[in-house]
């Protein structure tokens, strides 16, 4: 996992559930097949209603047209991000689109664990409601080691809550890598 992320931010609201992150109609693709796995990137966040995608203006797709990658490097969200189903395809889809971190006010627990377990992305939390401050497209700088998110466009550096004991698992790239690195698994 890279320690610094620079790039454009994509802003969404509260209760973005896993059906919005990756709609069930795309769950027949097999993530274990590299050719099919790319489609999770293409359809990442495609279930977010148009008006609520890319706040505050809305109507900004996370992945444009027929491409497989997002132009956005970070998602900023409100409360209870990733609620709903236990599909690990959700953090996988965001990561497959090229986005390796989310900063939200809070997460649903299964999504949080899936993000960490698969080593897909860093599920970062902030006490501040950044959804009302950041605009989709703002260039941001995320520093995982320092635990800060900076938005030079609008000014302001925000502290992120430490990832705590899951940091090592995210850094290792998931539970299996972590278990191997720490000697728990051969």
């Amino acid at each position: 996992m890279q320690q610094k992320i620079h790039g454009k931010v994509y802003v969404v609201g509260d209760n973005v559930d896993t059906d919005q992150i990756i709609p069930a109609e795309f769950l027949s693709y097999n993530p274990a097949d590299p050719k099919e796995r790319r489609y999770f990137g293409r359809y990442a966040m495609s279930g977010v209603p148009a008006a609520q995608g890319g706040l505050p203006q809305g109507n900004v797709p996370f992945v444009r047209g027929e491409t497989f990658a997002s132009e956005f490097a970070l998602i900023v969200a409100g409360r209870n991000f990733g609620c709903g189903s236990s599909r690990e395809h959700a953090p996988l889809a965001i990561a497959e689109a090229g986005c390796r971190a989310v900063v939200a006010e809070s997460y649903a627990r299964i999504f949080y664990r899936n993000s960490v377990n698969g080593g897909y992305l860093a599920p970062l939390e902030t006490a501040r409601r950044l959804v009302d401050r950041f605009h989709t497209g703002d260039e941001i700088e995320l520093d995982l080691a320092a635990g800060t998110l900076t938005n030079p466009t609008r000014g302001g550096t925000y502290d992120l809550q430490p990832l705590g004991d899951v940091a090592e698992i995210v850094a290792a790239g998931g539970i299996f890598n972590y278990a191997r690195e720490s000697g728990m698994l051969k």
């Binding site: 559930d17 059906d19 919005q20 109609e25 899936n114 698969g118 539970i175």
Partner: protein, 445 residues
């Protein structure tokens, strides 16, 4: 010894190893497997050269991506067919305690086939790559949904790395009124505490109104604990539980243990509800916590009713709907989707007023599809009952987030089978007490 909650007892009896910081390895007794969240796990297992730790813990079925109409044609969609065939091949190679493949007489939604087939027993830890695994908590199990990495982890080690949840008791005391069901109770609870009210908690449901529910009703309550953010919901086993389980226990099944919370156990959070105050309840679009009463929504015009899913597609749910629909005709298109092949067979076995449920639904103008998750989670465009247009739908399912049942512009109202059936008759959201004779046993749904 300090008094313990049911959750704490289930937790302690399954700890394999505990770190100083409280992180623990928890032993998993039952692993339910389906086609959507398992292929990558089997692949990972294979790549690492591992075999499952305990094959006899695995019970598998195909439910999410099986055809939702025209089973006679087989699986037409090539990607879905590949996924179901991959599960067939993986189970053939790896093994399982039981596998109910596509078209098997015991196939169906994984959370209903578990209890139906005696695979869910009190005191077990139960996991599945599906968030509605909380359903099994109705049997006094510690049950929760997991992602695919954890599916692989359980196959490889029979354990999961977990942190203990905080404890919550949701107590519902008193008697539910006629026409008020388990679905109304859980929608009222979610409406009160919110979609993240249970986040970080193990939610135990208790009180005399919960005790008075059938097993199916209790399953409906625990099923939707996840919609309140709780990874699991639990109800202590009692005579009703043991009666259900003993009827379905398999020869040679492990002895099971029915434990309950100590009388003086303390919970981090307690919510109390008066059953007598609850009324037929609806969750408005687009969140399960947007609570309203059915009688307040009479102006809402509907295009469709949907009765199905692990939440509202069990035998007792269809019995309830039949009580309302018998001898009448629906005014909007109404879809009936049994949760399992067994439930489907019950439509022919069980009667209301001398007619089978299938006869009642057919005469009422409903469309009946084969057992599957179907349109509860949208699925491919041709899914039976999928809302491909911006329709207003009343549904006995569990989620109404944007796009859950298809179109992002569709509005889904979550309700009990009684309310969905009554609304199907009028084309508007309708309080079922106006259309329902008041059969108490159906009220226990």
């Amino acid at each position: 010894m300090q008094a313990q909650t049911l959750y704490e007892k289930l937790w302690s009896s399954h700890v394999v190893h505990q770190e100083a910081d409280g992180t623990a390895l928890i032993y998993i007794d039952r692993h339910l497997v389906h086609e959507v969240t398992s292929p990558q796990a089997f692949e990972g297992l294979k790549l690492a050269g591992r075999t499952p730790w305990r094959i006899s813990s695995i019970v598998a079925t195909a439910d999410h991506n099986t055809p939702t109409d025209h089973w006679d044609l087989g699986i037409q969609d090539p990607v879905s067919r590949q996924q179901v065939e991959t599960l067939d091949a993986n189970i053939r190679e790896v093994g399982s305690l039981a596998y109910f493949p596509f078209k098997d007489e015991r196939q169906g939604i994984v959370h209903v086939i578990g209890p139906e087939n005696g695979a869910t027993l009190p005191g077990m830890t139960v996991v599945c790559g599906d968030s509605h695994t909380s359903t099994h908590g109705a049997f006094g199990c510690l049950a929760h949904g997991i992602g695919t990495s954890e599916v692989e982890h359980v196959m490889a080690t029979q354990c999961l790395l977990q942190k203990k949840s905080k404890t919550m008791l949701v107590r519902v005391d008193g008697q539910l009124g006629a026409g008020v069901t388990a679905k109304d109770v859980v929608l009222a609870i979610i409406g009160k505490i919110g979609t993240a009210g249970g986040t970080g908690y193990a939610m135990e449901f208790g009180g005399s109104a919960i005790r008075a529910l059938s097993m199916e009703g209790r399953m409906t309550i625990c099923n939707m604990a996840i919609e309140a953010g709780g990874k699991n919901g639990i109800i202590a086993p009692d005579a009703v539980t043991l009666d259900y389980v003993r009827q379905r226990a398999n020869p040679g099944a492990p002895a099971f243990e029915a434990v309950e919370s100590d009388a003086d156990a303390e919970y981090a959070r307690v919510w109390e509800f008066d059953a007598a105050e609850l009324e037929p309840t609806v969750a408005c679009p687009h969140s399960p916590d947007r609570r309203a009463l059915a009688r307040e929504l009479g102006e809402v015009k509907l295009d469709r009713a949907y009765i199905g899913s692990c939440t509202g597609g069990k035998t007792t749910d269809f019995q309830a709907a039949a009580e309302v629909l018998v001898g009448k005709h629906v005014r909007i298109e109404t879809f009936i989707v049994p949760a399992t092949v067994e439930v489907d067979a019950d439509l022919d076995r069980l009667t209301v007023a001398g007619k089978t449920l299938r006869e009642i639904f057919t005469a009422a103008g409903c469309r009946i599809g084969p057992a599957s998750c179907a349109a509860c989670l949208g699925g491919p465009q041709d899914t039976f009952g999928r809302a491909n247009e911006p329709l207003q739908v009343i549904s006995t399912t569990n989620r109404n987030f944007p796009g859950r049942m298809g179109s992002k512009d569709a509005g889904v109202y979550l309700a009990s089978p009684l309310t969905a059936a009554a609304s199907a008759l009028t084309g508007r959201i309708t309080d079922p007490r106006d259309y329902y004779g008041g059969n108490k046993s159906v009220g226990a749904v």
